[in-house]
Amino acid sequence: MSLLVVCEHDRGALSDASLEALTFGRPLAAAAGLDLAAVVIGEGADAAAAGLGAHGAATVHVASHPILTDFGPEAWGETVAQLVRSTGVTAVLACGTERGNEVVAQGAARLDQPFVANCRSVEPGTDGWTMTRVQWGGSLLEDATLTADVHLVTVAHHAVEAVTADLPAAGTVSTFAPDLDESLARTVVVDRVVLTQGITLSTAPVVVGGGRGVGSAEAFAPLEELAAELGGVVGCSRAVTNNGWRPHSDQVGQTGTRIAPEIYIASGISGAIQHWVGAMAAKNILAINTDAEANMVARAGHAVIGDLHQVVPAITEEVRRRRGS
């Protein structure tokens, strides 16, 4: 009997989110008396599988089928469901990313089992499992119960920090060939368009955020300059996208991107809860605001009280001065 961790990878490189799921899964499997298994799907799965023993997986299933080359939610979900039926899996775990929640939901629908998304903690029990899960992006918590033959859950992204296992496990690789109907190719990715090369909002070590206080699309230029000096990117609040100053893809928040930089420089952002839940995984937050009472100032580790239109260029200038450029 095993707990199966569904891993995501990019052409063989495991995602940080998957390492979080494995980190979360190790004590969970131990508490539930289950072996830890993992599954990797798609092009490069072999390479991704090789490192999973170090993360505690006793068994690594490499799912192989012509229509699994690229991501497809139905084909991936069906693969998970078949692994559950055929390899003694009694619990399924993934990280609550877009894909993680989607694939586990697909698996749950196919198995006709419940699925609890975005948990922060999970306690297995013989009479059903209990868990605390996040709602409203993390501003509200729900204590929930899960009664099921197969327990399917996801762990909220950034709820745990990924670490390798104290003791590596065997990581025995086993090929799994699911029986997939060709019709499932209908939801496989057919094309991928890259708009931004290099660092992005979700991976940037520095995010310079702007809110309503920035005032216009043009007034983001100094924020762009500071971000460029620090090797970071610009993010924004919902007020900014609603005003059409920046595209929705720059939005940080519950319905935008969850960021986790080394530092988030939040300028002219009051810190509404929907924004905060997208920013709270930042390791450090510097708030720049004219209002010393703003929520963002109260929640930040550091703050500068002042007008961002003066403060942000002054920081850029100081960075350049110290670099001697």
Binding site: F71, P114, R192, E262
Partner: protein, 206 residues
């Protein structure tokens, strides 16, 4: 426009009518929340009845997740029950045959989903289900004319029963507030050196 919820959900449906929905269906529930499996079973049943009367929908759109419960699964379960394809996280749709849809063949949709630094494209044959995300468009505001017209749109009630699923709620609570003493680095542009000291300390500026 179809929703499942308590009587207050009628307000949302009326709002939908004021911005263009022609037909409103409410699956009324007494309790505040139904679990995702129960919700999906009731909605799949309601869609099935609508289709039995008027023929199949080409495209059924769900919100990717509810803003409150955030179960991330009702659309997937309904699509599975209806035997239709679904892709979640969609922020752009081109309907085949529409002007501007390029080479997307009639009888299918091209759906775009954001990924880190770009987007990926799906080509899904109709009939289909899509889970759409906020940011797919900027919703219009209701006009006065729309508001008035919405009052005349018929609201159908579809009472349904469905078995409870395996997820139960015990209680809701607020997360412990992370108490942080905010260190004020200064006031105005004079604070810049202190900010850069901090950036150096954090190793984000060398």
């Amino acid at each position: 426009m179809l929703t499942l919820g308590p009587a207050e959900a009628e307000e949302q449906l009326r709002y939908a009518a004021s911005v263009g929905a022609h037909r409103l269906v409410l699956v009324p529930i007494a309790e505040v929340d139904w679990d995702p499996q129960r919700t999906a079973a009731a909605l799949a049943g309601a869609i099935g009845d609508l289709e039995a009367a008027d023929g199949p929908f080409d495209l059924v759109l769900f919100g990717n997740e509810s803003a409150d419960a955030g179960g991330f699964q009702v659309g997937v379960r309904v699509a599975h029950a209806l035997g239709r394809p679904i892709v979640n996280g969609i922020k752009g749709i081109d309907v085949g045959g529409d002007p501007g849809a390029g080479d997307v063949p009639e009888g299918s949709v091209a759906a775009r989903r954001e990924i880190d630094g770009g987007f990926e494209v799906y080509r899904v044959p109709l009939p289909a289900v899509l889970g759409v995300k906020e940011g797919i468009n900027l919703p219009r505001y209701p006009t006065m004319k729309g508001r008035l017209a919405s009052k005349k749109v018929e609201m159908a009630l579809d009472e349904r029963t469905a078995d409870a699923g395996g997820q139960g709620r015990v209680r809701l609570h607020r997360p412990e507030e992370q108490v942080s003493e905010t260190i004020i680095l200064g006031t105005g542009p004079e604070a810049a050196p202190a900010v850069v000291d901090l950036l150096e300390e954090l190793g984000v500026f060398q």
